[in-house]
């Protein structure tokens, strides 16, 4: 099938477009609604979370390069929203969220390892005193 957004040729079973990342399943049945002359009022601008705050927190506060992909996906969310591609933006949003969680997971794992090392240090200190 061809992507409705960028026209790239995808496998018929593809879930997202290989080129632009558009959700192909959601856009597959294009239902023509313009038959009765009912004017659909323009809704409020769609808000898709880009998790930029957490991406920057992860990069600058947790000291982690894993925050960089989160920022890149945050930018992708907004660029797709600007292009009117809500489904694509939601996909990028999911990726941004995932990278934020990876960053925080690594951060807490690191803190855990650090605490264990300190415990071992204290324990061996007590051990050597006796």
């Amino acid at each position: 099938m061809f992507c409705t957004q960028c026209g790239a040729n995808n496998a018929d079973t593809a879930i997202v477009c290989v080129q632009c990342g558009r959700d192909l399943q959601a856009s597959a049945p294009p239902v023509p609604l313009q038959t009765t002359g009912v004017v659909i009022p323009p809704g409020p601008p769609v808000q898709v979370d880009n998790y930029l705050v957490f991406a920057i927190l992860a990069t600058v506060l947790c000291c982690l390069p894993a925050g960089i992909p989160a920022i890149v996906y945050a930018a992708q969310v907004n660029s797709k929203l600007q292009a009117g591609d809500v489904a694509g933006a939601q996909l990028s949003s999911k990726n941004a969220k995932m990278w934020c969680w990876i960053s925080f997971g690594l951060f807490f794992a690191g803190v855990g390892v650090y605490i264990i090392l300190i415990m071992i240090g204290i324990a061996s200190g007590i051990f050597h005193q006796n």
């Binding site: 601008p45 920057i56 990069t59 506060l61 000291c63 982690l64 945050a74 907004n78 600007q82």
Partner: protein, 142 residues
């Protein structure tokens, strides 16, 4: 319903953890106390990452030393108001269902921001004079 309760408890936990962290950071200097772990990137590679010095910067900021905070990590100080706004907005959205007014950043700005962070991480490692001042604490010789 269970999902909302779950989300709430994650936020509550984050708020408690964050407050405890800030209080600890106010009283213990990451530079000298050993309470806080060192930056893993600097520890493993010897290079300063864009976030190196951010904990020391926050500590100095909480102590009221803005100049020292700036010298430790200028990025942290620049981002602080924006991050505070974003986090406050999310917290308010959890509590009363509506956050602060949202600002839509054009994608180009976010990409520029990303490039600036990466560039800052590269430049502060350069052993050339004006750039070496960007290493944590170098501006004040700390």
């Amino acid at each position: 319903m269970a999902l909302i309760a779950h989300k709430r408890s994650v936020w509550l936990l984050a708020a408690i953890f964050g407050t405890a962290f800030a209080v600890m950071l106010r009283f213990y200097d990451p530079a000298t106390s050993g309470v806080f772990p060192p930056c893993p990137v600097h520890y493993l590679t010897g290079w300063y990452c864009p976030g190196c010095g951010s904990l020391r910067a926050l500590h100095q900021f909480l102590q009221g030393n803005v100049r020292a905070a700036w010298s430790m990590n200028p990025l942290t100080l620049i981002f602080l108001p924006f991050l505070s706004y974003g986090l406050a907005s999310r917290a308010l959205a959890e509590i009363r269902g509506q956050g602060l007014p949202r600002v839509f950043l054009p994608a180009v700005w976010i990409r520029a921001l990303c490039a600036a962070i990466i560039l800052f991480g590269i430049v502060r490692n350069l052993p050339l004079h004006p750039f070496d001042l960007l290493a944590p604490g170098a501006m004040l010789g700390l």
